[in-house]
Amino acid sequence: MVPSTTVPGMEGSGKPLLSLRAVGKTFSNGVTALSNVDMTIREGDFLSLLGPSGCGKSTALRIIAGLTAPTTGTLDWSRKPGEESSVGFVFQEPTLLPWASVFDNVWLPLRLKGVSRSDAAPAVSQLLERVHLSGFENAVPRELSGGMKMRVSIARALVTKPRVLLMDEPFAALDEITRFKLNNDLLELWQDERFTVVFVTHSVFESVFLSNRIVVMAARPGRVFQEVEVDAPYPRDEAFRTSPAYAALCRQASDVLVSAINSTHGAAA
């Protein structure tokens, strides 16, 4: 593994927040989704999990969120577990309340914290505007397109201004232009607020553009294949996207991913 270094522009990063140690997960049907995963997430990290479909990215994210218990290994939080930690989570599927309007779905996390509808309204509206859903406040999920549902889910995860943001392929259902826009928005937000992000993606470009570290995973069994440090300064903008450095980094990450996939498909097919 590449030793961690402070990324320029993100001085706060570096204090370990969570370590996964030899974490494994075998489901009751015998499928080993994860095996012997070691990973450290540092405070202020923008960490991407990159890997082929079915390699255990979602499972790893759920373990990090505490939604799934690992069958082997341990999770070490640097904070006391009791400490109120606000976590934002974007599920791979939209996971909206089918009976609630878009507004109410985004309001939900605040509502659960006791914030009234009117108090929540400014924050909710602002986020809905950010994800280009103004005007759909009163629609229910079944009246939305796939991408719109996902955007509601993203808005919901951000509405509490969480200190830890866990996102499972949040932008997969969006067109590239909107995706770029939201990428920029997210980066901006991250630089302003310095929360920690674990970001599951299957897009090399996206992971390189966004994160300071990329954990490339391989499948069968799901494991950490290699960690890639993205040594590019923040803020990153459209200029970065067209820079040769970006292209080089992408090629590097892509190569790692290809070897990760080959190490899988070779075994399977």
């Binding site: 989570f89 996971t95 309340l97 659960l112 229910v140 999920p141 079944r142």
Partner: protein, 283 residues
């Protein structure tokens, strides 16, 4: 371009057919049930005539209708008495059924510990335990309500429990992550998600609480003036007054149908924005 033109020609009739079918369906959805009802009544009449069934065994529908009209004051008065118990019983069944379901949803332990008692209540024949109720419950209405409740609460309990346990796993995780309390999860997630199941149970319980009210009256008796339909049935049966007996039965049936329709409407209104079972087929 011939292909397209020919297809235009073939499409129009299809569109027309669709429209025609839709119109037909709109009309049919009212006319057909009525027609079938009328047919059933006609059949009943014919069966009486063909088999020369004497009136004192199975009166012809005309006679029953006539009786319904003649005895209207008496019968509708009794209907009101029965409906009062029905609604109160249904109300209690909803409160009791949902309340218990919520309790059971709190923990597997609670469910395993107390569900048996709910089953005992469901399967105990009221006739058999009525003497006990009679000894320990003084108020007549309370007796009737207790009986009606025992009959009606179980479907609501069972269906609501099922619904509360059928919540999407990811949504539950979402609530966990946001630090929702048990109560919040129940209120904002489980109960709304259980709605379709609960409403299904309610539709069953509607009819059951009606039958519960009738059975309660059969068992618990009714005091003099304020006697419901069950007393009328017993009385008519004893007096060999078959037309009145059937008139009372028909009132019960009609009440049952109306209750079902009302509950279906309620269910539709609650679910129509989101649940498959209530969505209009939008094409």
């Amino acid at each position: 371009m011939t292909a397209v033109e020919s297809s235009v020609a073939t499409l129009d009739p299809e569109e027309a057919r669709r429209l025609r079918r839709e119109r037909l369906e709109r009309i049919g959805s009212w006319v057909l049930p009525l027609a079938i009802m009328v047919l059933a009544i006609w059949l009943w009449d014919r069966i009486c005539v063909w088999n020369e069934i004497p009136q004192y065994i199975l009166p012809r529908p005309g006679v029953v209708l006539q009786t319904l009209y003649n005895d209207a004051a008496l019968l509708f008065g009794s209907l009101l008495v029965t409906l009062r118990i029905t609604f109160l019983g249904l109300l209690l069944a909803v409160v009791g059924g949902v309340g218990l379901a919520v309790l059971f949803a709190q923990s597997k332990w609670v469910e395993m510990s107390f569900f048996p008692f709910a089953i005992v209540l469901q399967v105990t024949p009221i006739v058999a335990i009525f003497p006990l109720i009679n000894i320990y419950v003084d108020n007549q209405t309370a007796k009737l309500l207790l009986c009606a409740w025992i009959v009606a609460f179980f479907p609501i309990l069972s269906n609501t429990t099922l619904g509360l346990n059928s919540v999407d796993r990811n949504l539950r995780d979402l609530f966990r992550l946001n630090g929702a309390t048990r109560w919040q999860e129940l209120w904002h997630l489980r109960l709304p998600a259980a709605m379709p199941y609960f409403l299904g149970g309610l539709k069953i319980a509607g009819g059951l609480s009606l039958i519960g009210a009738v059975v309660a009256e059969f068992v618990a008796g009714a005091s003099g003036q304020s006697s419901g339909l069950a007393s009328r049935i017993i009385e008519a049966g004893y007096r060999l007054n078959a037309p009145r007996l059937f008139a009372a039965l028909i009132l019960i049936s009609l009440a049952g149908i109306v209750i079902f329709l009302v509950l279906s409407l309620v269910s539709h209104l609650i679910l129509r924005r989101w649940h498959e079972s209530a969505l209009k087929q939008e094409r």
